[in-house]
């Protein structure tokens, strides 16, 4: 009887998860550029990692300092989410424009994927070894790429949508 109930529960659980996942992918395929920009998470700022965050690329801290300043897993999660949005931006461009340089798109995807992989590795290691050297190095790699992307984004907004810069700076 228990086995039967377990089987029914698993099939129902899997059905619900796959249904939910499918709806998310469908929504993702139809979202607008503005909606994508609005999804960049502002609840943790990477400005602690760099003296010129948003204006210059790179991290002005050692891996140990960077780990403290990014508030451990909290900062990592924000970078993880925002890197996902960057990936979706690349997908949006690939889907809606033929003129975008495919190599740049590939690089952007690879970059965002690297950030996510580094964050996942750091979080996985953190779960077992807390803030070991490996965790801090992976977190530092992710943070370095992340600050680079944020700085380039600011430069672009300055050039093409200066009105949005104050909001963007405040949000980041």
């Amino acid at each position: 009887m228990i086995l039967t109930l377990l089987q029914i529960a698993s099939v129902l659980g899997i059905t619900l998860y796959l249904g939910h996942w499918r709806n998310r992918v469908r929504r993702r395929n139809t979202q607008s550029w503005d909606a994508l920009l609005g999804r960049l998470r502002p609840d943790w700022s990477a400005r602690e990692l760099s003296n010129d965050f948003l204006w210059k690329e790179g991290v002005s801290a050692t891996p140990e300092e960077a780990w403290k300043r990014m508030e451990g897993p909290r900062g990592l999660m924000v970078m993880f989410k925002n890197a996902g949005v960057m990936l979706e931006m690349a997908d949006f461009a690939a889907k809606n424009s033929e003129n975008v340089d495919r190599v740049i798109l590939e690089t952007l995807r690879s970059d965002a994927m690297h950030i996510r992989m580094c964050v996942l590795m750091a979080l996985g290691q953190y779960a077992f070894t807390q803030a070991s050297e490996g965790v801090r190095v992976n977190a530092y790699r992710a943070a370095s790429m992340y600050t680079g992307m944020a700085a380039r984004m600011t430069r672009l907004l300055q050039e093409h949508a200066a009105v949005m810069v104050p909001d963007f700076v405040a949000a980041m």
Binding site: R26, K95, Y140, R152
Partner: protein
Amino acid sequence: MAPDTILSYCGMAAEAGLILLLIKTRVFRLLAAFFIYVCWSLINDLASIFFLQSLPVATYFKIYEIGMVVDSTLMFAVLVELGWSVLRPIRGSLPRHAWIGLAILIALAGLLVWPLAKLTPLPANLTYQGRDFFLLQQTFAILRVVVFLAMAGCSQLLSIGWRNRELQVATGLGFFSLASLAVAIAHTHQLPGTPQYHRLDELASLGYLGSLTYWVVSFTTKEAERQKFSPQMENFLLLIGGTAKANRVALMDIQVTKTRRKDHR
């Protein structure tokens, strides 16, 4: 007309329609294994009707068994193809023959699922051949669901996007797989040959027909039009992606320096 016959004819009509649509929309180029699978299903269904009427039952079941092996092999190819096409956005950063690794991973999952399927109770009164047949059916029902779960989980974790056509094919296959799995589980609690057991088989066929109908409707519907992508948006991406390579090189340098420092210690 018996419900079985109605389901069978409706299924064949839907398969024929789907084949035409796959050719018309040129999806057969993108998802060749899926196209071959649907063609095979139609041929198999037509041949089954012919063989059932003209051959002795024992011979028919032997042919049916061979058909089941071909069907399972093609389904395996469909799963590998779907997995590989989902990885398209990041193929550039993967080794050239990574699809072989993907096929091996799915095959390994199948090998793990086979003994798991053996653990579940089998329906009573099954012959030796019937047991193998039932296990193969159950293994593939579980494997399909496991592969879909893995694909969904990985793409969610790595934020990999799915194109509409791939998502439609996966939705249909996922629905059919879940229906098959539910029926396979329900079968373990029933006696083969009873009306209830047969009704469940009909439900599984209905699930397959549902997937076919969904595919036909999806492939008949035009894909959503492209959204506006301004030069500003394009510049935005160029800037974000522009110095990524330089960044990666710098990061590798950091790693090398750290390793050297460790060696000195």
